[in-house]
Subunit: 205 residues, 2 copies
């Protein structure tokens, strides 16, 4: 382990060991500090104190607030999440949108706080982009299944379809600060599925 | 004019007169300060100095940074903007999306800075919501025209259609920090138009 590397990627050298435990404690502290006091009081010192980890360790491993947020987001993408298989494209997209709606309306609003933080830190913004990129890649399975079932033509642009299905959720709940509409996940899923069946994501642009 | 009102709505008492000029100077200063130094250095004192307006005037009329940002956004919605009429639903939506893409990729990135500020100030968030609400209401004309041309059935949910058409623009350019794709405005417009023609915004939810 190179102690003086300018920006260690915070690998868990021994999964489940002390390094991994420290990382989990620090991540929990980042989220708790962000939720309780907001970005303005999210400092390396506050996180170190809260996590019960020596501040030198935190500075060496994560350097600054951007590095801390990015690592929280990168860790969130290192899970075993996968899209549900409901048997139909519209059903799969609706299930996905239900999860998006749940995340964006959860209490405490951790997802919203991380999105807000991404407007303060370029490093968090890049990590959020990586997180969403991973999720969208995993969701391509939803489109592959629909193609295999004959619901969609081969050559459907999976990413464009998935963005069309999910973007209205983020738009309404984050940008337009709309009251959550329990019908929205299904409606946005149906819209994208109808557009896909009509060839919106296959023809030459 | 009630000098001691706790939160004047900053009306231009004499349009084109001194009050309106002061308001315009202050708005320009808010945007310039935000663009050059970011939200953290956006203070009433900095704005007053930059605008050449007495700080007492700014405090009395706008009270704080939230009031300043909200008034800039409210003024942005008080223009004569209207959606273009290209003769087809897909064309109108593509023209709208071209404007969204232009705003989100403009240099200097004023729209992005105001969106970012809306994550710092509840007042700015509410003003941005009002601004977008006005714009979407004006755009309902696009859907009305399509219904009159027989492109869409009466009873089409105009707002849902407009959000479906525009949300992928914001999603790609703001959340996913994607490289601007000149094909995206047309593709998102086409997707929404196809879904609308397939009945996505008319059937019971």
């Amino acid at each position: 382990m190179t102690e003086n590397a300018p920006r260690p990627a915070a690998p868990a050298r021994r999964p489940g060991g002390r390094t991994a435990r420290t990382r989990a404690q620090v991540h929990d502290a980042v989220v708790a500090q962000l939720m309780e006091h907001g970005y303005d009081e999210l400092t390396v010192d506050a996180v170190a104190a809260r996590a019960g980890v020596h501040r030198t360790t935190v500075y060496r491993r994560w350097r600054d607030v951007g590095g801390l947020l990015a690592d929280v987001l990168d860790a969130a993408g290192d899970d075993t999440w996968g899209p549900r298989d409901t048997g139909s494209l519209e059903g799969d997209l609706a299930a996905l949108n239900d999860e998006v709606q749940a995340a964006l309306t959860a209490e405490p609003p951790i997802t919203l706080a991380l999105i807000a933080a991404s407007f303060r830190s370029d490093e968090a913004a890049q990590a959020l982009k990586r997180f969403w990129g991973k999720r969208y890649t995993l969701c391509e399975e939803v489109v592959d299944r629909a193609v295999r079932r004959g619901e969609l033509p081969a050559g459907t642009d999976a990413r464009a379809l998935l963005v069309a299905a999910t973007a209205p959720m983020y738009h309404q709940l984050v940008f337009l600060r709309a009251v959550p509409d329990p019908g929205l996940p299904g409606q946005a899923a149906r819209t994208a599925a109808l557009a896909a069946a009509a060839g919106a994501f296959t023809a030459a642009r």
